[in-house]
């Protein structure tokens, strides 16, 4: 803010004149630079309706550098004339005896602020000679405002404890707030959007009475990841192209031996009402350690454990955790992603039950329109892809996979014959990308994440 002295001098000048005064006039009468007056005008304006200031522009003439030199020392011609020595040049070369330096006089007139005494033509000629230049000056026409006063009351920016204590706030004027500006961002930490969605999915499963499985084992044997699920050893998913194998530790040990024998038998010879795959099942394939390709490996361990109970009890299990695929990477595929999985085991569960549970689950995600497509999966039969109608895309899109675990998987574990197990799965990344409008998965997962996106991400309510 300009100092109060200038402000008050300005106000006194405004007070004296009728109908207003130009800021340039103020500047010259106060003997200060015009910019100082402009600053003072703005400061006073900020105090409320003390003055009104209307911007206007005026033109005037000023000397250029060369023009100034001429005004001081005379025109070039005159200076030549003066420079002629006493003894002189030959008379014949000197056309005049004396000169009148008109250019200098005209420039001096302009310099003294009397440019109006010159004719336009004269001024333009001097302008062409680059001795004069026309300058536009922005100034204010200042008049009294509705709240005019020659005394400056300083406006307070903020309420202080002292004002509250003394009651002085009652007399103070407060500077208005600019409500168009943004506030200051709170100094806080932020949760990652994918993890916020994970929390919501956990919540949904817990609301539905599902118990969380211990999925903190990224390294799995092919046995639990594939063989126990009745996935044959020549299945393409077990290829080097699809699965990460380990070189160290390369193989797993300590399989439940009699269960392993039953698994081997159902693959190679059949049994439990099945023809089996009829191939030479090899323990060496089953022993190979891998990075688990699905959390269903944990479901298999859990169901096997359940089958070892004295008496079967119905269970509902869920998990959300990382799985790994040695696949070609693109904008929507990474080598690791989170799988969401739900499993229900009970006597007499039907396909209708699976669809009913899926309907309840997806309703909690805000998806109510579902339909089911027959699909193929080595360890579920029937297998169903879950589709939901996407209003934005105007078509049915796949939102998950589901099925009833095959008897060739369940019976060798020792689960009672009448028990069926229904299950479904989906990825955590896909609904999150849709929810937060992210097209490239690398912007969401991994170290290349944009922290600003994390800072800015809204709360996650999947059903709204």
């Amino acid at each position: 803010m300009a100092d109060t002295g200038i402000l008050e001098s300005l106000l006194r000048l405004v007070d004296k004149v009728d109908g207003g005064i130009d800021s340039q006039v103020v500047a010259s009468s106060l003997g200060v630079d015009h910019q100082v007056v402009v600053g003072a005008v703005k400061s006073v304006q900020a105090l409320g309706e003390v003055i009104e200031a209307e911007q206007r522009s005026s033109k005037h003439w000023e000397l250029t550098g060369e023009g100034q030199e001429i005004a001081e020392q005379g025109s070039h011609e005159a200076r030549v004339f003066k420079a002629i020595p006493e003894e002189g040049l030959s008379q014949s070369q000197l056309m005049v005896e004396s000169i009148e330096d008109v250019v200098r006089k005209k420039l001096q007139q302009v310099q003294m602020g009397h440019s109006s005494q010159l004719e336009e033509k004269e001024k333009n000629e001097l302008k062409k000679r680059k001795l004069l230049t026309e300058v536009t000056v922005k100034s204010y026409w200042i008049t009294k405002g509705s709240n005019f006063s020659t005394i400056i009351t300083k406006q307070e920016t903020e309420l202080t404890p002292e004002m509250i204590a003394s009651g002085s706030w009652k007399e103070k004027k407060f500077k208005p707030y600019n409500f168009d500006a943004m506030g200051v961002a709170p100094d806080s930490g932020h949760l990652h959007p994918l993890m916020k969605v994970r929390t919501q999915f956990r919540q949904i499963f817990l609301e539905m009475g599902f118990t969380e499985m211990p999925t903190n084992n990224f390294i799995e044997s092919s046995f639990w990841n594939f063989d126990s699920l009745f996935q044959p050893q020549q299945h393409p998913a077990r290829d080097q192209h699809d699965t990460f194998f380990l070189s160290d530790p390369a193989v797993a040990h300590d399989f439940p031996q009699d269960y392993l024998e039953r698994v081997k038998k159902v693959h190679s010879e059949g049994g439990y009402g099945s023809q089996g795959y009829k191939y030479d099942w090899k323990i060496e394939e089953a022993q190979k350690n891998i990075l688990r390709t699905h959390t269903t490996a944990v479901s298999a361990r859990m169901l096997y454990k359940l089958a070892q109970q004295e008496e079967f009890t119905p269970v509902k299990y869920f998990s959300i955790d990382r799985v790994f695929r040695n696949e070609t990477l693109d904008a929507t595929h990474l080598a690791e992603f989170h799988q969401i999985e739900g499993v229900v085991a009970d006597y007499g569960l039907t396909l209708g039950d699976l669809m009913g549970v899926l309907h309840q689950f997806f309703t909690k995600l805000g998806i109510t329109k579902l339909r089911f497509k027959p699909a193929y999966n080595p360890y579920t039969e029937p297998s169903m892809e879950v589709f939901s109608y996407h209003k934005g895309l105007n078509k049915w899109v796949e939102v998950g996979n589901s099925g009833v675990f095959r008897p060739e998987m369940l019976l060798p574990m020792g689960l009672p014959e009448g028990v069926s197990v229904i299950a479904w799965g989906l990825s955590l990344e896909r609904p999150t990308m849709i929810k937060y409008g992210i097209n490239n998965i690398r912007e969401l997962v991994g170290h290349k994440v944009n922290l600003q996106m994390v800072y800015d991400s809204p709360v996650c309510r999947l059903d709204s």
Binding site: S188, G189, L191, H192, M195, R202, L206, G209, T211, E212, P214, N216, I219, E220, Q234, Q240, F244, F245, L246, S247, D248, P249, A252, G273, S274, Q275, Y277, Y279, N289, L291, P314, V315, K316, R322, F324, N326, A335, V344, D346, L351, G352, D353, G356, V357, H359, R371, K373, P374, A375, E381, P382, M384, R406, P407, I422, H447, N450, L451, V454, Y455
Partner: protein, 585 residues
């Protein structure tokens, strides 16, 4: 999932009606197929090679249809049409039969003992008096290719050879010979090559080079001769030119050599059931005899109908057994309710190798009924939910760390060896890391043994953000551990970093104090927590401390070593906290 490409008009002609794209898509959906793409040869070429090359190509509309991976009977136009027609009650499923040749003398394929080490199995059959058209011929070749890519596992398990029977004469011999002893003119070539030369020749062939590895290092290569010494094929690489089939071929000799006999039988059944449709006697296939080295003789193709009994108690749809029998018949599974009404007798045709259990039959019944016509029910299963304690603790801590002003990062569990060793100034051998044998890039060499590199890389990717940067992650690392069945275990870690113009050790130390407060561990030597100066090459000398809780070391904190900061392409001082949270369960 295999994709089958069929000409739309040809498909509609065979189905006896036309569909809009939407109608056909709907039909596919019900039948478990997916109309993946509607395109044309022209479209495909113009997309892959540019408009100019496409100008000559056909613009006949193609449907690309995704077929479930176990339905080999739907991999060609013939099979798709048959499946859909029976499904829509437009025709009855055909009856496939194996017949004797008219002269009573079946073709014979003799397997010699030499094949045992390289590719021991072979099966064969004859399609007699077949009529090809250009479309049928293309479909025949395409089916073999689809089978090769799928059930045959890129020819490793089974390789198919089809031959013009009228150009060769049996009996045929399937043997194995040294590569230099095999000489023949391969398919579509003008001169003879030895097998050794051929393997070199095909090294640059965009298609065949993918199969060379199957036999390349074998001392003996498989080869099939006719009685005159003509080479039919050198499986699984290439057929001979002499016996190649054409549109005009009338009699086709089919051989499949294999390392997996079950799959060879299925593949042969698929080819003959699909294309016997075009024989003078439709749906019949002429048998061939295969003689094993031990003198055993087996007649192929198997081509049999299996019977399965379906007990109704496992039915998932509450409808009558008669209706179920009808539904199954529409899925090419001819069914009858048994006389006592308690069971359904189902006949599995040779085309349905995917049916191996009653549950497969029930799926077909449900499909024919329509998945979306099944009433959705709620199971009465009563359970009480429990959280996994480690995840419960993680969830609670995450929330409080964010409340403490730190932002959550989410980094990859896989990384390079360099990330966990060199860049942290550690020796890889000391990391207890598990190693991946087949990473496609260095980013997937190991599972991380610490969360720190991921957080430092997150900082590096966000150097433009205003300072200070305060990040945390609570997630699993993987460590070798002999005591588990797989020899490794996860460990749940909490890691946090503070990145600013000053190291901020006090900030990260304050975070440790806060975490301990949250975990109800008080400062103190015996029953609380304390930190103690430690040497650690990742940290700046004299600026690292080990953290002990209840007398046990749980992790470290300190100011990172400038060389570590540099190796992660960072420029500011950085302090870090890295602890195991499993002791606090």
């Amino acid at each position: 999932m295999p994709t089958v490409s069929v000409k739309r008009d040809l498909l509609f002609q065979a189905l006896g009606r036309t569909f809009t794209d939407e109608e056909f898509d709907e039909l596919c959906f019900e039948f478990g197929l997916e109309l993946d793409e509607i395109t044309s040869e022209k479209d495909i070429i113009s997309r892959e090679q540019g408009d100019q090359k496409a100008s000559e190509a056909s613009d006949v509309v193609l449907y690309k249809i995704d077929v479930p991976a176990n339905r080999y009977d739907l991999l060609c136009l013939e099979g798709l049409v048959r499946g859909l027609q029976v499904f829509k009650d437009k025709m009855e499923a055909p009856r496939y039969s194996r017949v004797n040749p008219l002269n009573g003398d079946p073709q014979r394929l003799i397997i010699t003992g030499e094949t045992a080490s390289v590719r021991p199995h072979a099966v064969a059959a004859v399609l007699r008096n077949i009529t090809f058209t250009p479309e049928r011929y293309d479909s025949f070749i395409e089916l073999q290719e689809k089978l090769h890519q799928n059930i045959c596992r890129r020819r490793t398990l089974v390789a198919i050879g089809t031959h013009d029977l009228d150009t060769i004469s049996g009996p045929f011999t399937y043997t194995a010979k040294a590569p230099d002893d095999i000489r023949f003119k391969p398919l579509n070539q003008n001169q003879e090559y030895s097998a050794t030369q051929l393997m070199g020749f095909y090294k640059t062939d965009s298609h065949l080079r993918h199969y060379l590895h199957i036999i390349e290092d074998e001392p003996l290569y498989p080869v099939i001769y006719d009685s005159n010494g003509i080479v039919l094929s050198m499986p699984p690489i290439i057929n001979g030119d002499h016996s190649k089939i054409s549109v005009n071929t009338k009699n086709v000799f089919i051989e499949c050599t294999a390392t997996d006999l079950t799959k060879a039988k299925i593949v042969l059944d698929m080819i003959v059931t699909m294309f016997s449709e075009h024989c003078d006697q439709p749906f019949t296939v002429e048998e061939a005899e295969v003689v094993y080295p031990d003198g055993r003789m087996v007649t192929y193709p198997v081509c049999i109908y299996l019977c399965m009994l379906l007990r109704l108690c496992i039915c998932t749809v509450l409808i009558s057994s008669e209706s179920i029998a009808q539904l199954l018949t529409r899925m090419c599974l001819k069914s009858e309710v048994t006389s006592d009404g308690a069971e359904i007798q189902v006949e599995i045709p040779p085309t349905r190798s995917d049916v191996i259990h009653a549950c497969d039959i029930m799926e077909d019944a449900a499909m024919a009924y329509g998945f979306n016509n099944i009433t959705r029910t709620t199971p009465r299963t009563y359970t009480v939910a429990n959280q996994f304690p480690l995840n419960k603790l993680t969830e609670l801590l995450r929330l409080d760390l964010a409340t403490a002003g730190f932002t959550e990062a989410l980094t990859f569990a896989l990384c390079s060896q360099e990330d966990i060793a060199d860049k942290l100034q550690k020796n890889l051998k000391d990391t207890k890391a598990v190693h991946i044998s087949n990473p496609k890039t260095a980013e997937f060499q190991v599972a991380r043994t610490t969360l720190l590199p991921g957080l430092l890389k997150t900082l590096a990717a966000n150097r433009k953000m205003p300072l200070p940067l305060k990040l945390f992650e609570i997630s699993d690392v993987v460590l070798r551990d002999e005591s588990t069945d797989v020899g490794a275990r996860n460990s749940r870690r909490l890691c946090a970093v503070y990145y600013n113009k000053t190291p901020g050790f006090e900030v990260i130390h304050g975070l440790l104090d806060r975490v301990m407060q949250l975990l109800e561990v008080k400062p103190g030597r015996n029953h609380g927590y304390y930190i103690q100066a430690a040497e650690d090459s990742t940290y700046f000398p004299g600026r690292c401390a080990e953290i002990f809780s209840h007398g046990k070391s749980i992790g470290r904190l300190g100011v990172l070593h400038p060389d570590v900061i540099n190796s992660f392409e960072l420029t500011m001082p950085c302090s870090a906290l890295d602890i195991d949270i499993e002791p606090f369960l």
